[in-house]
Symmetry: C2
Amino acid sequence: MDPLNLQTHTEHITNPLYLESGRILEPYDIVYETYGHLSETKDNVVVVTHALTGSHHAAGLYEGDNKPGWWDGLIGPGKAIDTDRFFVICSNVIGSCFGSTGPMSPMLPSDEPYRYKFPVITVKDMVKAQRILFDKLGIHRVHAIVGGSMGGMQALQFAVHYPNFADRIVAMACTHATQPWTIAFNKIAQEAILKDPDFKSGYYDPADIKENGLTGMAVGRMAGHISFLSPHSMERKFGREYKRTDGLYELFGKFQVESYLEYNGYNFTKWFDPLSYLYITKAINIYDLSRGFDTLEEALLRIRSRLYLVSFENDMLFIPEEMRVMADILAKEKTTPVDYLEVKSDYGHDAFLVELEKFKEYVREALEHGI
Amino acid sequence: MDPLNLQTHTEHITNPLYLESGRILEPYDIVYETYGHLSETKDNVVVVTHALTGSHHAAGLYEGDNKPGWWDGLIGPGKAIDTDRFFVICSNVIGSCFGSTGPMSPMLPSDEPYRYKFPVITVKDMVKAQRILFDKLGIHRVHAIVGGSMGGMQALQFAVHYPNFADRIVAMACTHATQPWTIAFNKIAQEAILKDPDFKSGYYDPADIKENGLTGMAVGRMAGHISFLSPHSMERKFGREYKRTDGLYELFGKFQVESYLEYNGYNFTKWFDPLSYLYITKAINIYDLSRGFDTLEEALLRIRSRLYLVSFENDMLFIPEEMRVMADILAKEKTTPVDYLEVKSDYGHDAFLVELEKFKEYVREALEHGI
């Protein structure tokens, strides 16, 4: 038997989901993966939450794939999120394009996709939908929620809005509210997608895009890739290496970094949906833990989970200060235990996916003992 | 009489310009402005060099304009670059679109623009063309060369390749060689321009673009505007302010930072030429002071000017380290006097255009006494 016990499920939910905007999503599907085994008392659940372009496939290998889930180094038997001990659930957020209901899902009872008729969703909505899923699974309290980037936002949103739901929250490489620098990067992608004639104002044929790519989304993703790295990691990764077969004085001659961006940009359009990209970046942009409260402090004081905040020194997308401000508030107010770690790193935002060595023992400790 | 004594001239040069690539540009025009008065012995010349989208119009007001030249706060009677004392020359670089020969200039004897037949030019070529202009003006040695960003690159290229030409070099907010992070930002713009159908593979009608804009260049310019600021300055400038007339849960509702990027991005396409943008960003990308030498050190050891290097703490396009490495080499080798200033600022790259208060006395001192 697979020691990871990877299972994929889809939950079809027919009750209406009341969204923050006042709109309603119904019915909707949530696809999720689980790893490990649920204990009889259901007290060993760890929820893992994914980032913008992530999915429920956080660990293990699908048959025929050569790349495992996006946090495979962290989740598994004996690993930091130890599936010998914990039952791990990772679900695909609503709005995404990997099986949970999103803008390209059929707007039942018709067969036609929602497209722009899909409601704007928020990180809080993503979390609410997951909470409903867990209720259906008979899970009303979890050992921990762990996530990075938009996954960290979800973890924090859980902490604030369902204070009695999780014993521990580990939020990495994120923020209490998305700042203009990050909104600006998302803007590049949104604008490039919207203005690409092949996007057809949202009425594209997904098969076309999978086959031919979508320049606008590729360009936008290139901007994303800048924000995921840092000047130092780019220098180390690419330096000023030039493509060996290109002339230096050719107008279209390329540096390695340019090839990298092109490859990743265009490749991305083959596996991600442009409308999902618009909706999820919108959710990230309007994410603000303090919405609905008078101050950020008021929001944070609701938290009853043990809180572990992890930032990365050269994260250019969510700078460490944005995490530290939360740690400072809670350290002062002492309403709940909080620990803050700034990981030494010059990699940039992607460190939370790449430099696992630097924080996996921290995560293990947080889950097993508390720090 | 105008105390600034602003004059605009065009020099038509018929001798061939031998480019770094091995190609030849002939004939070519250089448009330039002068401020102040040339002394009889021609010993009071200060050359000012411009950045990517800058021009020869560095100071003063044209009739009917409400915005003065790009460094007007620095150049003028009694100002840091004092036109009561110095004769200031600023020329538009070749490849640009403000009068000097560039890709949209007619490829004489035909009336047709060069477009892609324009040769790739380098920062060294820009400097060579200026040197030839100055020779024609009977100026064989100058008091100082001052520039920021690509202007700083030109100043340094002058220093390395014409070691006896300038007594002083003030280079700001630039680098010894463009690093991959910056190349990546340029890539966004290049890719977005090239793939825009309205760019017509370079065979666009400039009047069309001036009238209707060019989405690809707008998107690229938005990416540029991110790189010109910093997370902190964006936060201060925009915060999370939302357009008052937009709904938070509207997919296309906008934050102020998004409006800012849109406005500046689309506006830019009305006053800058896309082929010039491709050629000049190419020149910036392949800029490397050490090209033609075994090491950067070898290149720098040629310098005989007094060298003033100014970086800005939160410059995200050319990080201070890239300037400091030059200062360190020269401070160690003591082949020429060098001074390095890191300006305290969280504004970002644009500080060299905006936060003049922070370095204008430094420039004055550098030009008047030497520091």
